[in-house]
Symmetry: C2
């Protein structure tokens, strides 16, 4: 246990909305039931960018998407050497939500790199052992690093039944929208995605998903509309395109309040469904079977000491997945 004690590591620190790459961060010490993980690859997500815009007042090491290797276990030693991904909600197991089987809504939760828990944009990170999932051998790091956002995409189908005859519109073809489209396409539903950038359309075409421009969506004609743009404009387009009695899935968070015509929700009996974190096991199964191709989204990789540049790059409009490689 001792070889990581009192040692320093490199990590991306966020404080007062400013990030800095620091070399003096202590390597995390796993508490009982926790593992120390050497990060192999980490992914930059819209939530990271929102944190920098003040979506949540977070101070600490950023990052929640990663694949890594367990190097220390304060519990079952069988985990050591395993290649893993990790669920980001660190839960108490004891509150009413946890006891009701809704631990992702644990009242005491911390969230890796988002709420009260140092994240994965660092050489090492730690998580409870029960949060870990071993990565199947045939899933390369470049796929495994997408487990968390792919799980978030799959959360939609965990919450709502999407039938193979339904007309489903995904608004937004960015990082999350692409993964949502790839996973929804597997249901056989009649799927279209609203795109803004030619590159987004090309990627979807590679996965056999058809695209529409915003002006081609039609009015009130989709059984299910998924809002994945992270902007109020996307929400209002969703309200215009979902059919009466249909469902609007809200998949992206954005800072501040949104103005909406709630009377339309009542008169047209729309169901609005908020959707956040999802199940890791099916995400890994889909990748193991090569049924999804998240690695197509990778645009650029940066070494950890260029993390500031990597996040700046990821924040540009239309940029898909940017990865951070602590090993380089």
């Amino acid at each position: 246990m001792s070889n990581f004690e009192n040692q320093k590591m490199v990590g991306v620190w966020l404080e007062n909305r400013r990030l800095s790459v620091r070399e003096d961060l202590p390597i995390p010490q796993p508490a009982p039931g926790e593992a120390l993980i050497k990060v192999r690859l980490a992914g930059i997500c819209a939530t990271d960018l929102e944190l920098m815009r003040g979506y949540y007042p977070y101070t600490g090491i950023m990052g929640h998407e990663f694949v890594g290797e367990v190097v220390q276990s304060n519990g079952d030693q069988d985990w050591i050497g395993k290649r893993v991904v990790g669920e980001i909600n660190i839960t108490c197991g004891e509150c009413a939500a946890c006891r009701a089987g809704r631990s992702n809504h644990c009242e005491q939760r911390s969230v890796l790199g988002i709420v009260n828990a140092h994240g994965s944009f660092a050489e090492y990170t730690k998580l409870p052992l029960r949060n870990l999932h071993q990565v199947p051998e045939n899933v390369p790091d470049e796929m495994a690093v997408f487990t968390e956002p792919l799980a978030a995409a799959l959360r939609i189908q965990e919450q709502a039944h999407i039938g193979p005859s339904q007309r489903v519109l995904v608004i937004g073809a960015g990082r999350l929208g692409q993964l949502i489209a790839q996973s929804l396409a597997l249901s056989g539903c009649r799927l279209s995605v609203v795109v803004r950038h030619a590159k987004q359309q090309q990627l979807l075409a590679m996965c056999g998903v058809s695209c529409l421009m915003e002006e081609e969506t039609g009015s009130q004609s989709w059984d299910i509309v998924v809002e994945a743009t992270g902007s109020p404009d996307g929400f209002n387009l969703a309200l215009l395109t979902v059919r009466p009695g249909g469902m609007l899935v809200l998949k992206s968070t954005f800072a501040g309040h949104t103005t909406a015509n709630l009377s339309a929700v009542v008169v047209d009996e729309i169901t609005l469904l908020g959707s956040r974190c999802g199940p890791f096991a099916p995400a890994l199964r889909l990748m193991e079977k090569n049924l999804v191709r998240p690695q197509l989204l990778i645009e650029k990789r940066y070494p950890l000491n260029q993390a500031a540049q990597s996040i700046e790059y990821a924040a540009q409009a239309g940029v898909l997945k940017v990865l951070i490689e602590p090993g380089n």
Copy 2:
């Protein structure tokens, strides 16, 4: 068929948001498949008041809640003399929504006293025969006139499963909130209602429903919250009180846009469910069995020629049901 032709009647006319009691209105002529109904009692609803505030640009005879007697049928003559209530959505039966069994969302629909169809604040009204339901003998007019709003209350349980162990909060104890509370109480769920007026609380107590003041609701602790205030304040209280993963039912319409924290909907995975018109048959069954007591809500009755005063009275804060009696 001829005895109502070219005859005039009294009715409440809305035009440019102003109402007038007119005595020169033609008695409606039932088209094939329609009935002419002599109105016995009509009820004033929040939607009527919203129409006067410009919620929808309606011109014509107001009113959609009524009980009456069929005096003419342009179809099955067995309806003549029957005491009836009527569903308010007049549908085409041919559009995609109708064919999919969602005729309340008919794309071509008119709505009695709300959209393109003269309503029930008059001596006579007309509706398609297929919209009519015979009132059971033991249900007096004073109950039957509540069929439409009671059906709207029951719509909640048609859309969402409400289990007997669930904690359910109804926000608003006005006309609709009272009926929602009475019908939800029958599920055995753990029900509380947020009230503002002592009278509202007394009425609910008579039905065995417990009440809370707004400051007693607690935070994020209700499985299901029903918003029935018709105000943005009610919506925001609903968002604060529903638990993560819970459901917020939007039951009241209000003019204009509402500002809301949609990120909370996503992070807490709230389901927002818009809910409008409901099923008449179960509403009549509950009244036939005396399982609900809508007649407790009646505050005052006015003859038709005092309809202007009746609507003015109904618009006051805390006033429950005001009825119009065309026969007097």
